[in-house]
């Protein structure tokens, strides 16, 4: 035990490791904030430089980049309405309205604190309950992923704005875009019109940048005469009273983040969307209506996506199976350094496990420091005259879209979706459901068909499995309850 503690503390006591973790976290925040530059990209490029390093140095740096990068996506989401990464999509929904109200400083401050909270919950789960969480993750069958995707799609109802019909249209359109490309089961081209470029599908990050960034720029052109709201930067660090109010929600959504993060088929983006949905359904009196700058709409996704980091490490450490793309790269790096991630890691090299936990804790501490510094300067970015800010957003969007695949095609998609998103906004449609459909549609498609093949194509067998598996039955019951709770009948019953 004392040896474990020694390895846990190693990263705190070595100046070089302290420096590497700090540098990684700092770099991660800014890499994450730029749309199109992903944490996976940063980690995999970096790893090729660390082959000759000491393994501890490489792992400390990666921990920083990973945690910093997941958090960094919220910066551009709040300030510019362009999520830096898919896991920050839900953050933009209430973060940007807050910036428009002059509360960008408070929003970033709160986001930082809850991200750190989520990070700690994830790390705690990794340190204390890794085998239990990994056993739970092992129980998830394709039909459970299907239920999760359906549950996530229910969020369309929440994101529809005034009209559910318009929300459904937007969601269905998103699912349709998500279907473009090679069929995941048969590799048959779908909606590709014979084009090889289309067989790769439509990069949803390009669509995301278009729908959020470009569409916002075009909408702002109508408001050029309106001066930017002056940002109130007097209160950056959230008060204890404010925090105490959001802590229970943050703890719940962090738990969602850990579990969803531990599933290899889902990641921080789905965790954040599900957490947002959870907040919207369970918070009776939000600080403001959701979508108009509710602090709950920031707390939920931001705590969940950072908790998902610890979650993603769990199957990697306990089974040698990566929880997401970043942990897949880390596994590769561990092999190169002669380590064997997996069930034997904690038995053969327990010190390494505790070193990783220690470096994640340290990176999370640095996240708090770097996240809370420079907020005033960032918040002022929103006050930049629109004649400068709007072209800047367009340039950033184009660079981000190009960086996804080094392809001009993604820039065209981004522009196209930007114009389409603008038209949708003009006609009172929300763009949130479109992105939701794009992310969850393919997951639903793949999971449904995998589950159906497992049930030998028998509809009866397929249906029965939802009731014979305890986990499926629980998720199904929760899903049905969630749907019922939105019906007038239920509301009347609750009122009575």
């Amino acid at each position: 035990m004392s040896e474990s503690l020694q390895y846990f503390l190693m990263v705190f006591t070595s100046p070089y490791l302290l420096f590497l973790t700090a540098a990684g976290t700092f770099a991660g925040i800014y890499i994450g904030a730029i749309p199109g530059l992903s944490v996976t990209m940063a980690v995999s490029i970096l790893i090729s430089f660390t082959f000759k390093w000491n393994v501890n140095d490489a792992l400390a740096l990666i921990s920083g980049i990973y945690l910093g990068g997941v958090y960094g996506g919220s910066r551009s989401a709040i300030l510019l309405n362009i999520p830096g990464a898919p896991s920050a999509i839900a953050t933009a929904l209430d973060g940007y309205p807050l910036a428009k109200r002059g509360e960008a400083g408070t929003a970033i401050g709160l986001t930082t604190v809850v991200s750190v909270l989520g990070g700690f919950v994830g790390i705690f789960a990794l340190a204390a309950a890794a085998p239990a969480v990994s056993s739970l993750a092992l129980m998830f069958a394709p039909r459970d992923y299907l239920l999760l995707a359906i549950w996530g799609l229910l969020l369309v109802g929440s994101l529809s704005g005034g009209s559910l019909a318009k929300g459904l249209f937007a969601g269905a359109f998103g699912v349709l875009i998500g279907m473009v490309g090679l069929d995941p089961m048969t590799a048959e081209p779908r909606f590709t019109f014979g084009s090889v470029q289309m067989t790769g599908g439509i990069a949803y990050v390009a669509a995301m940048i278009g729908f959020f960034g470009v569409a916002e720029v075009l909408s702002q052109l109508h408001e050029l005469h309106i001066k930017a709201v002056k940002q109130n930067v007097s209160k950056i660090i959230p008060s204890w009273a404010l925090l105490r109010r959001y802590l229970p929600l943050g703890a719940r959504t962090s738990a969602i983040g850990v579990v969803v993060g531990a599933l290899p088929g889902a990641g921080g983006d789905i965790a954040a969307l599900m957490a947002y949905d959870h907040a919207k359904r369970t918070v009776k009196n939000p600080s403001r209506p959701f979508g108009e700058g509710a602090y709950e709409g920031l707390v939920a996704p931001e705590s969940a996506n950072n908790a998902a980091v610890g979650g993603a490490y769990i199957p990697m450490m306990t089974l040698g199976i990566p929880g997401d793309a970043v942990t897949a790269v880390i596994i590769g790096a561990m092999y190169i350094h002669g380590l064997k991630p997996g069930p034997m890691l904690m038995i053969e090299t327990p010190h390494l496990f505790w070193f990783i936990v220690g470096s994640l804790v340290l990176a999370n501490c640095f996240l708090l420091v770097f996240g809370l510094t420079g907020i005033r300067m960032f918040a002022k970015l929103v006050e930049t005259p629109k004649a400068i800010l709007l072209p800047l957003i367009l340039v950033l969007s184009a660079v981000g879209a190009y960086a996804i695949n080094n392809s001009a095609t993604d820039v065209y998609w981004m522009l196209g979706f930007g114009v389409f998103g603008y038209l949708l906004k003009m006609y009172g449609y929300q763009v949130g459901p479109v992105i939701l459909g794009m992310i969850l549609g393919p997951l639903m498609d793949k999971s449904y068909r995998q589950a159906m093949i497992s049930a030998e194509g028998q509809v009866g067998q397929f249906a029965i499995e939802f009731f014979t598996s305890p986990l499926s039955a629980i998720i199904l019951a929760a899903l049905v309850l969630t749907m019922l709770s939105q019906t007038p009948l239920w509301k009347r019953w609750r009122a009575a």
Partner: protein, 329 residues
Amino acid sequence: MSGIRGVSRRWCLGWMGMLVGGLTCAQPAPSVFSDKPVKIVVPFAPGAGTDAMGRLMAQKLGEVMGGSFVVENRTGASGAIGTQYVAQQAADGHTLLLVASPFTTVAASLPTAGYDPIKSFTPVGMIASGPLVWATTPQTGIASMQDLVAKAKSQPGALNYGSAGAGGVNHLVLELLKARTGTFITHIPYRGVAPAAMDMVSGQVQLVTGTIPALLPLIKDGRVKPLAVTSAKRSSAMPEVPSMAEAGFKGFDVQNFFALAAPAGTPAAVIEKLNAALNKVVSLPEVQARFKVDAVDAMPGTPAAQTRFIEADYQAWRDVVRTQNLKIE
């Protein structure tokens, strides 16, 4: 207001400084053929195994040849987009393709792939190759490949096989086995080996194939049982596991491979220079050490040897696609 202006000015100066610094750093180093750097296109996302191999080759070829080799990821359509891109570039040796198994499997199964693995490229040389491993769980009671085939014959469709994706080598190796044995095993495609392996451990599927490093942790733990490697010879990374020939499947030899290729028509002098450097790189002790970790063996050789390998591989997959009626029209 002046404060805001001050901030903006500082910002502008900072950004300009970073831009100038970035541009200075980005000055291309001299190339081996001219002053241009050589681009190695990896048709998969950063982080994938192919990407790691591409970065290793870029680094070491740069060291050996004294020029600049950079990796560019062009992803999509199971690698077809990046591959097609390289086929259309100038044949001057400045754009190379990191070739891996999907190069032939995608071309064989997807008529719209947009390239011909033989006609669209000039081979530079093989890098390395290694087998996949057939794996199941102890709960299935299957102890060998013969057991597997016997069970698949006695209970057609009862066994589920999880692949890393439709049309990939993990999928086609199953189809090859089915074609050779006349059995039916249900194919369930996943996105990558990781979710498929997870579902095998939890009992959703009974069989997967994956690279040795991907499955080794679960094998060592006893949750997963290796049946055979997919090659004709045993793998040095798993010497206790039988080869396909030993398991009773003579002539069955499926390998995951890596190679370099240039656009068709690249001058022979350029290819010769690159091939010599590549052969030197794959023999370096540090590169051999990396290959050991990845459970692949170096394959130094001539461009002609690569042509023979690719032709045989492509033909084999075309036969499987035809006999199993997988071709998508």
